[in-house]
């Protein structure tokens, strides 16, 4: 509706006192976008030596099960133990990321591994996080052909593998990782960035907090220290 577009934009311009060309305002906007400067960041979001322990602490507060692995070869045992503990079936859907494909599942023959997009029948999934945010214990997942988004949402259990070196203090620092990765200051955003802080929940019936609404009822993060 081109008529609507012009109508709304000119009403906005009248209301804000910027002319039709809006040159002055355009410059203000362009320079703010180019600078994309962070605003105030709280002390607990600092990028310092304690980010890993702070991440773990905040993630646990949010209801995430945090595990540590030194090398991908420790991951199958961690998952096997968890599935047993939770009385869950032994199947897991795994992303095609270089880190996930390096996991040696042969050591846990009872776990059956599949790859590809999530299937409604999947009970557990594993994918690799782009970053972890210590301030709130939040995982940053980015969609890609290797890490399809629905892995994070459809199964009962989602496991996010988080390389320790990718843990930062704040969301702003995580955006920097994304901007660096895309190789340009202008972010090339993936289709989906999912920030995940704990398992799915709702309090819509009489304010009673329950885990496992539509997303995973169990959320695990494995902090991976490369050898």
């Amino acid at each position: 509706m081109t008529g609507a577009r012009e109508h709304i934009l000119s009403a906005v311009r009248r209301a804000t006192g910027t002319g039709a060309a809006g040159a002055g305002a355009d410059d203000t906007v362009a320079s703010r976008l180019a600078a994309h400067a962070p605003n105030l960041r709280p002390a607990r979001a600092a990028d310092n030596a304690t980010v890993v322990s702070r991440f773990a602490e905040e993630a646990v507060r949010a209801g995430t099960d945090v595990r540590h692995a030194t090398g991908v070869d420790e991951i199958p045992a961690i998952i096997a133990a968890y599935l047993r503990e939770q009385n869950m079936p032994g199947g897991i859907r795994v992303s095609d990321d270089p880190i996930s494909t390096a996991i040696p599942w042969v050591n846990e023959p009872l776990i059956s591994v599949s790859t590809g997009a999530a299937d409604p029948g999947d009970t557990a999934s594993l994918s690799v996080a782009l970053s972890g945010i210590a301030e709130t214990g939040t995982l940053m997942m980015n969609s890609s052909p290797e890490n399809p988004t629905m892995l994070n949402y459809l199964p009962f259990l989602h496991v996010g593998v988080l390389p320790e070196s990718q843990i930062v203090g704040s969301l702003e620092s995580a955006w920097s990782i994304l901007r660096r990765q895309s190789g340009s200051e202008n972010t090339a955003m993936p289709r989906m960035i999912n920030l995940i802080t704990g398992p799915s929940r709702t309090a819509d019936i009489e304010q009673e907090l329950l885990m496992g609404a539509h997303g995973p009822q169990k959320h695990m993060v494995i902090i991976l220290k490369e050898k």
């Binding site: 709304i8 009403a11 906005v12 804000t16 203000t28 949402y153």
Partner: protein, 479 residues
């Protein structure tokens, strides 16, 4: 479902106050969100400074809204999406319908969207043979009951678990009639199962957006259930509905808003799921929709932008003002007669629907100021309510008796000697008439007060008289 009944505010209020079930649920309200919010803020010493930063971001956006909207649009198109500008509710409804028709849609899954409520999209789709399915648990429950939401972040907060159980028993008719629906857990699991099928079968996903990021053309969504991502990610077409003031400049600015949003809303440091969605599925992606549409709605916002009510456009719909409002706590959300209740609603609703049918809203407030004290965007809500009252007076919408009363009062207020004489005489008279009980059960012209409570009798001397005779204070002391 969201029919407008704002002009019935008085009647609605009366029945809400007499509704025992509602009053029981509202009784628990104050122990929920406000307590959690206070706990979350106690862990963040910079919270007030972050409120300033958040306010400054939105003020900057509103001052430069035109270029930001154009930038946002350009980035959506660059990432393969489409933007549809809509002046009003009707244009928005028609736009959504035509996208759905092009997609041959029969069912549409929906995640909670206040804009969807504002334009009443559900009824419209239904009338046009398309089935909308709400997927947020609270919205799902009220959709089954065909009720409007009673709170912007907790739409089913007015219901007891027994009512939810009855609803499920009636509407999930193919399940065993004698099954147990004792606990919220069992009800949640049942709803999850029902909705899983809907998610997988829907042709279109319809969502709202908490923010529109101009820098990247992304929409940002926030939820705790995970239903938004399933709504946006599984169907072939995704439509996001948002009003024009939802813009933030950059990803960094979005980070600042997120720091105040969840804490103010539910008392979480961060909601469980925050997603930034940019365009449709990429060439090698294994999932995601093939089409991505943003419906950008004005519906009265440009007028608010040009008015003395611009500040309300900073609102991020966190609900904190509602959660701390003594009026909301007494009457709940439905009494307001439309989708935006509490202080933010009392300011926004007259702006969107006009003053004529919403005359009670700005007046249903004691101006106690709690809303402003908790608003993360530092919106001066009491001040804006006062401005509506002034406008009503100017437009002669204020009822004749009140106008007359105000004029009489204004006359005396401008003549302090007369004012003092009257109050002095009045105080002496009421003191004498107060009787032994020192209160009035009925008073002529004051039925509005004495119908529901007693009026305490004055002590015999006016405040000014007592003030003049107060004992001398120690020097330098302050009251």
């Amino acid at each position: 479902m969201s029919q407008i009944k704002t002009e019935r505010f008085r009647e609605n209020t009366r029945s809400a106050l007499a509704d025992r079930q509602l009053q029981a649920v509202l009784g628990k309200f104050a122990d929920g969100f406000p307590v959690k919010r206070a706990q979350a803020i106690a862990r963040l010493p910079e919270f007030d400074a972050l409120r300033d930063a958040a306010r400054d971001i939105k003020n900057h956006v509103l001052e430069n809204l035109g270029p930001y909207l154009e930038q946002f649009e350009a980035q959506v198109i660059a990432s393969g999406g489409q933007v549809h500008w809509c002046r009003d509710a009707e244009e928005a409804r028609q736009t959504v319908l035509s996208i759905c028709k092009n997609a041959d849609a029969r069912t549409v899954t929906k995640s909670k969207s206040m804009i969807g409520e504002e334009v009443d999209i559900n009824d419209f789709l239904e009338d046009n043979g398309i089935e909308p399915v709400e997927t947020d648990l609270g919205e799902y429950i009220i959709q089954l009951r065909r009720e409007p939401p009673s709170h912007i972040i907790a739409p089913a907060i007015h219901l007891s678990k027994q009512q939810v159980a009855e609803t499920f028993r009636e509407k999930h008719a193919d399940r065993a009639a004698d099954r147990s629906l004792e606990s919220p857990r069992v009800m949640l699991d049942e709803a999850r199962e029902e909705l899983r099928e809907q998610f997988l079968g829907a042709d279109v996903g319809l969502s709202g957006a908490n923010m529109l990021v101009a820098e990247t053309g992304s929409i940002a969504t926030v939820s705790n259930e995970g239903n938004i991502e399933l709504t946006c990610g599984l169907p072939r077409v995704h439509i996001a509905m948002a009003s024009i003031e939802k813009i933030v400049p950059t990803l960094e600015d979005a980070a600042t808003i997120l720091r105040v949003l969840a804490r103010s809303a539910t008392g979480q440091d961060m909601s469980v799921y925050t997603s930034f969605i940019t365009g449709p599925r990429r060439p090698d992606d294994l999932d995601g929709p093939e089409e991505f549409h943003v419906v950008l709605l004005d519906n009265g916002r440009t007028e608010l932008l040009a008015s003395e009510f611009r500040d309300i456009l900073r609102c991020i719909r966190c609900g904190a003002c509602i959660n701390h409002c003594p009026v909301y706590e007494a009457i709940g959300g439905h009494a307001y007669g439309w989708i935006y209740p509490g202080p933010m609603g009392a300011v926004l609703t007259p702006g969107l629907l006009g003053m004529e049918t919403t005359q009670h809203h700005p007046n249903a407030s004691t101006l106690c100021g709690r809303c402003e004290s908790v608003c993360p965007m530092r919106i001066p809500l009491p001040d804006l309510l006062r401005k509506w009252r002034t406008r009503q007076f100017g437009a002669e919408i204020t009822p004749t008796a009140s106008r007359y009363g105000l004029k009489v009062w204004a006359y005396f207020a401008r003549h302090p000697h007369l004012y003092r004489l009257i109050t002095k005489t009045g105080a002496i008279f009421l003191f004498a008439a107060g009787g032994r009980k020192r209160r009035f059960r009925h008073l002529p012209f004051a039925g509005g007060w004495t119908d529901a409570r007693d009026l305490p009798a004055p002590q015999g001397r006016s405040f000014m008289a007592q003030w003049r005779q107060r004992p001398p204070r120690r020097s330098g002391g302050r009251l």
